[in-house]
Structures are given as C-alpha cells and as structure tokens.
C-alpha cells in the first residue's frame, strides 16, 4: 500500500519506520531540511522536504495514487488542511489526522476526516484508569508528627455504608473527625453515627496507614468483613 506520512517529527519518524518494516511503500513529507535528511539517512530514500499542505508538493509526492494519508504534525490546522486537500483534490480513500487539542475531534469529524488520533486523549484515559476511582485526598500533613488529615468519599458500594462508626474497624492511630453528608452538612461523628454513601469523611491518620484507611472506607461490600449486603444477588 502506498502511504504518505505528513510530518517527520518523532511520531512521523517512528510511524514511517514501522510502516516500512511492514512492507508498505512510504513517503514522509517534512518541512524542516534537517529532519527530512535524518529520515533519509536512517530509513532510506523515503523523505521529501516540503510543505504537506502545498498543492505542488502534494502533486510531486503522488497524492493521487496514495491509498492512505496520515498527517501527524504538531499543528492541528496543518493536519486538518492536509487531510481535507488530500480528500477533496486528490481523492485519497483514507485520511488519518493526529489531533493535539482533544477538543478538535468533533470539528475534524464534521469536516470529513476519516480517523483522528489524539495522544492527549489516549494518555488521559490511561491515567484515569490508573487512578483509584475514589481517591483519598490529603488535606494537610502535620509536620513532624507523621500525621495527616485526609478526605475520603464513601462510594455507594462501600462495605461501610449503613454501619455505625463504632463498628468500622479503622487502622491504628486513625480517627474519623468529621462527616459531611451529601447535602453538605458537616457532623461531628459519635460512635453511633451511621455512614451513608456519598458521605465525605475527614479523618486523621498516620501517613503509613493512609492506604489502609482508604481501603476500609472504600472497599466494595463484597470484600467486606461482614460479607455481601442483602440486596446483591450472589450465588
């Protein structure tokens, strides 16, 4: 397949390398002379120095017979125009644009670009998966004492929902200092205060017990010390 890659930065370089290794016919168009040369040196005679939005360059590069055009420069507007011109003027069947600003996905789709790839979105979603869904937010570290004040939101499926604070087994040297309910009303907890889903619990704990505290307050009911709640159907 004849594939044209517009933009010879890091993304363009490694993309071209992979595509060549897969046996495709590849051409990289790069504005910068130095970058274009480096690609030629390392990957063979597959780079063309020029502006990938300039119709004369596009003609020289053979856009007319390209089966796929991939625009991966660092500028969304350049990637957009390359793909639009490739489609409208050269009838390239498949165009792929790299998007730097994730918000541009919508407009690219609307303007007929077949596929968009956003590294920012990909990295963001990866990070969101890695982060715990109900993070413990450190509010304050008490210097010297190794104590911290943290905030934890009690998730709906938490094992502590419906329990009295006296019955919640907290890690050592941890204390629930304040409970703010979903309406935003703060309560100084007593032993018989019942925790509800959505409560924000402010607690004092030792730094090394932070994770244990979060586990106690957020771990889902199925793993809780008292077994699953009555309403979940489990075999």
């Amino acid at each position: 397949m004849y594939i044209i890659v517009v933009g010879g930065g890091k993304v363009g370089y490694y993309l071209a390398k992979e595509l060549v290794e897969e046996g495709h016919e590849v051409l990289v168009i790069e504005k910068d002379a130095g970058k274009a040369e480096r690609i030629a040196e390392e990957l063979g005679d597959i780079s063309l120095r020029g502006d990938g939005c300039e119709a004369s360059t596009m003609e020289m590069a053979g856009f007319g017979r390209a089966e796929m055009v991939i625009a991966v420069t660092g500028d969304d507007e350049d990637n957009l125009v390359t793909c639009q011109v490739a489609k409208a003027k050269f009838k390239v069947p498949r165009t792929i644009a790299r998007i730097n600003n994730p918000k541009n996905e919508q407009i690219f789709k609307k303007l007929g670009i077949d596929t968009t790839v956003s590294a920012t979105t990909a990295i963001l979603s990866q990070i969101e998966q890695e982060l715990p869904t109900h993070p413990l937010i450190p509010l304050l570290t008490l210097k010297g004492g190794g104590l911290e004040i943290v905030e934890v939101k009690v998730p709906e499926n938490s094992a502590v929902v419906g329990k009295r604070i006296a019955d919640v087994l907290l890690p050592q040297q941890s204390l629930i200092a304040l409970v703010v309910d979903e309406q935003g009303e703060p309560k100084v907890p007593r032993a018989d205060t019942v925790l509800r889903a959505g409560d924000e619990v402010v607690a004092v704990t030792r730094t090394e017990n932070e994770d244990a505290l979060r586990a106690v307050l957020t771990a889902s009911a199925s793993y809780g010390p008292y077994g699953p709640p009555a309403d979940t159907s489990r075999p």
């Binding site: 939005c53 119709a55 507007e77 957009l80 125009v81 639009q84 600003n101």
Partner: protein, 136 residues
C-alpha cells in the same frame, strides 16, 4: 481573527461604521496596530480553539473574518465558525491560490490577496500613465 495590518485596518473601518467589533489575536502586542479611537473589544486568544471561540460569543455573531498569517489557521477557524457555531457570513483569507480555489469549491467564502494583488498590479502596469503627479 488576526490583528495584523489587514485585520486592524478592517476592524477599525467596521468599528467606525458603527458595527460591534471583536478583534482576536494570540499576541497582545498586535493590538497596538488598532487606532486609539477603536471602540471594539480586544481579546487575546487562539482562534482555532473552540473554547476561545465560544467564550467570545462567536455563535451570536453575524459575521466572522479570519486574516491571520497562516492559511491553514484561517481555513480551520473559518470552518469552525461556520460549521460548529453557525455564523452566517464567514470570509477567509488564503494566500495560496490553489488552496483558495479548493476551499472556495468546498463552500467557504475565500479571498486570495496573492491573486487580487497580482491582478491589481498588472492592471496598474497596463494603464496609461497619468499625465502628471509623480515628480520624477
């Protein structure tokens, strides 16, 4: 969008005619090109950022003109104004005559100063020289 020489001149003209004008440019320095009596809004921001366009109220505008130095920026901003925000009149400057023809075909209102400038110069050359005036 774009407060270069052309953008500033155009904004000043429209402002003087009584239109409500907003000038958008990435660089605050660019606004020095506006005359001191300019009564419109000056906004620093990136014209191909949807959020910026939304913030300055592009959706409520009757017309949008993109005249930055970058053809592709102009093309992208113009298409956003037209297709995302539904602005009725959108005019876009494209220096490159080939791209200009293409985007005109794709439905944008476009002007290529390269073509227009070359034509005006040619016409000036072909005109009979004025009887007097220039002092050489």
């Amino acid at each position: 969008m774009g407060c270069g020489r052309v953008g500033a001149e155009l904004a000043a003209m429209l402002d003087q005619e009584g239109h409500e004008v907003t000038v958008l440019d990435r660089s605050p320095d660019a606004f020095r090109r506006l005359p001191p009596e300019f009564g419109g809004h000056r906004v620093v921001g990136n014209g191909i950022d949807q959020e910026v366009l939304a913030r300055i109220g592009v959706a409520e505008m009757d017309a949008f003109v993109s005249v930055t130095q970058g053809d592709n920026r102009n093309v992208m901003a113009a298409q956003m104004a037209k297709h995302l925000f539904g602005v009725q009149r959108v005019v876009c400057r494209i220096y490159d005559p080939i791209r200009e023809v293409l985007y005109h075909e794709l439905g944008l209102e476009t002007i290529s100063p390269t073509k227009v400038g070359a034509r005006l110069l040619k016409e000036a050359l072909e005109r009979e020289p004025a009887a007097s005036g220039s002092g050489d």
